[in-house]
Symmetry: C2
Subunit: 374 residues, 2 copies
């Protein structure tokens, strides 16, 4: 963990200040819009490419994450910096943080960028996850897992420790033979996890300020297809006690990381004889796809909440005015924009990406269930 | 009136297209954000100055409204053009419209830019207004109005026919002497109106598509201070029959202008022995300050509704999820942003203007009355 370096608690960044964002995707774009509504300017820093955030940011820098000249100029031009994806190189975040406050603190990246670090973090703060084995020697992994796999009572997932997203870098294995084969073929450090027989996947989007105030949005229930988020429904169909526990877990993670900003935690709900059990999957130190519905259904969106937190402002009200279902528009599904635009209880959001690729997140549509039709 | 020139009805402008906006103020800024959420790019055209829309538009041109070279380049770079304030010179709008579709059609500007034209338009379509006299000869005006004024039973208002906004270019008169004095001192063409003894001021924000579909937001009740909008409350405290008549008037105006886009109509409510009577004050051929609350309280904001209409999309649902009160932050009132940011049921919007001047619209805050507090 890095030493703490936060803005003084009495510092509220005034409108007219500039917020730097590392990363130029749709999350950066939506953060920029939320910041603009509060009177902030944004400076986006991202490598060359199809960066939808560039089109609406007041300032944009297209440069690599190891370009120290460009990074220094970026850091010098902003009042506070943040990041919109969790695979910003840690060295980049730390370099920027030496020159200007970077929130959330780089330690959140350090933990979340390595699955074994993340699992150990959860274990150390008393948050349950799937069982896991982290060892570079496949024989050790096979020693602990092979017999159970071969018995066919449970399955495992081998995941790359770094740079996994949207289901990439994951292979499901049902036997010791499959385990050894996948281990040989997959690149980099690997972690073995027991597959969780979950009934539901949920996520908590929570925010914390530097003075320790925490607010969570209502819990979303998520479905995935091919490892990519397909939809989020709110409220999740879970018991209220389970929802309370999920919020408590989120609050513990936020506090233990001394986190400032919005963070998303994905959890599995497992039905057991003693009720619903929660196993945490992973967290993302940023605004999250499963919180996009907040823009359509809350007074304060997750994007504004993040900007408020890193600017030292009080958190906004996360209350929700409608039940919702948010559906991602992946790849050429966005070509059906006109049918979504014609749905009177739907809020359509398209990211302005130049190129549609299979599975690429091109937009989303939020169906508001409670709104009356006119 | 100009000849009709609209996009073919079957033309839905796809995401990725570019929308040109004449005018760079906060209305242009909010239109740009709404357009971006639908995947459109925006090109703002405005004279040099403190243009808050420039900061978030993909492309911006700072040039005068009579710079035909710059206007032609602007028109050539956009798929459809619109305007965000009603004092864009008619010649500018017509020049652009010759090169690319401009919506709303320039005729709406032509009518609204001259108070006598506007009053005659209302009269011709059977919409009641205050009584008025338009004559360049003050003796004629005094002949019709002087006696009543001197009797002290009613007052009049002399208004410049062109370029009035936020109460500028208006003088209230209580005698023939005051009338003659004001007439001599005020510049340009003038119109005399009888002051209306209204109980409330309301406005209807309505939208129309090129195929004639019309939707209105719920009616706002407005208060003004020194001629500048102070607050808008929704719903307006009027009878439902009055609200229906107000919507009917808005629909008639939209249809008679063959209007495409969002239009605002201000009306006076007068209590009479036979109930509430409506007298129309004026219309603005654009999104309007009294509709800013729609961004915080509706699935579709007035800004998105305008973009949808000019892009040939179906109109969105204007339903409202909460009672609201929107308050303008004028001049240095915006310095209290931190107290507004701390109100948990308020949505704060700051326009990012560089300079605060007395009475200048710097932002607004929308209080959501129905949202529960968390």
């Amino acid at each position: 963990m890095n030493g703490l370096r936060v803005m003084p608690e009495e510092t509220l960044l005034p409108p007219g200040s500039t917020i730097g964002i590392l990363g130029g995707g749709q999350l950066g774009r939506m953060l920029t819009m939320a910041a603009a509504r509060l009177g902030f300017n944004c400076h986006i820093y991202a490598p060359h490419g199809d960066n939808p955030a560039f089109a609406i940011a007041g300032t944009a820098t297209a440069a690599d994450y190891d370009d120290e000249t460009a990074l220094a100029a970026f850091a010098g031009s902003v009042d506070v910096a943040t990041y919109e994806f969790e695979n910003v190189p840690l060295a980049t975040a730390e370099f920027v943080h030496e020159k200007t406050p970077l929130l959330p603190l780089p330690n959140a990246l350090e933990v979340s960028q390595h699955r074994a670090n993340e699992k150990a973090f959860f274990r150390d703060i008393g948050v349950r996850t799937a069982d896991w084995i982290f060892d570079e020697d496949v024989d050790i992994v096979a020693l602990h897992a092979g017999e159970d796999l071969n018995r066919g009572t449970s399955r495992g997932i081998i995941k790359t420790c770094r740079m996994g997203y949207d289901g990439k870098g994951q292979v499901r294995v049902s036997s010791e033979k499959e385990l050894r084969k996948a281990w040989q073929e997959m690149p980099g450090e690997l972690i073995f996890e027991w597959e969780v027989p979950f009934s539901r996947e949920i996520s908590v989007i929570g925010a914390r300020t530097s003075d320790g105030s925490i607010k969570c949005f209502d819990i979303a229930e998520n479905t995935h297809e091919f490892g990519i988020l397909r939809s989020s429904s709110v409220p999740a169909q879970i018991r209220s006690a389970t929802a309370s526990r999920a919020r408590e877990i989120a609050a513990r993670v936020l506090a233990e990381l001394d986190y400032v900003g919005v963070l998303a935690i994905e959890m599995f709900v497992v039905e057991t004889d003693s009720g619903e059990q929660l196993l945490v999957n992973e967290f993302a130190p940023r605004v999250h796809n499963s919180g996009h519905w907040t823009e359509a259904a809350c007074a304060t969106s997750q994007f504004e909440q993040h900007i408020r937190a890193i600017a030292g402002w009080p958190l906004g009200n996360p209350a929700r005015h409608s039940d919702v279902e948010m559906t991602n528009l992946l790849g050429n599904e966005v070509d059906n924009w006109n049918s979504h635009a014609a749905q009177s209880n739907s809020v359509l959001h398209i990211y302005g990406k130049n190129q549609s690729l299979p599975g690429r997140k091109m937009g989303h549509v939020t169906h508001l269930k409670a709104l009356s039709n006119r």
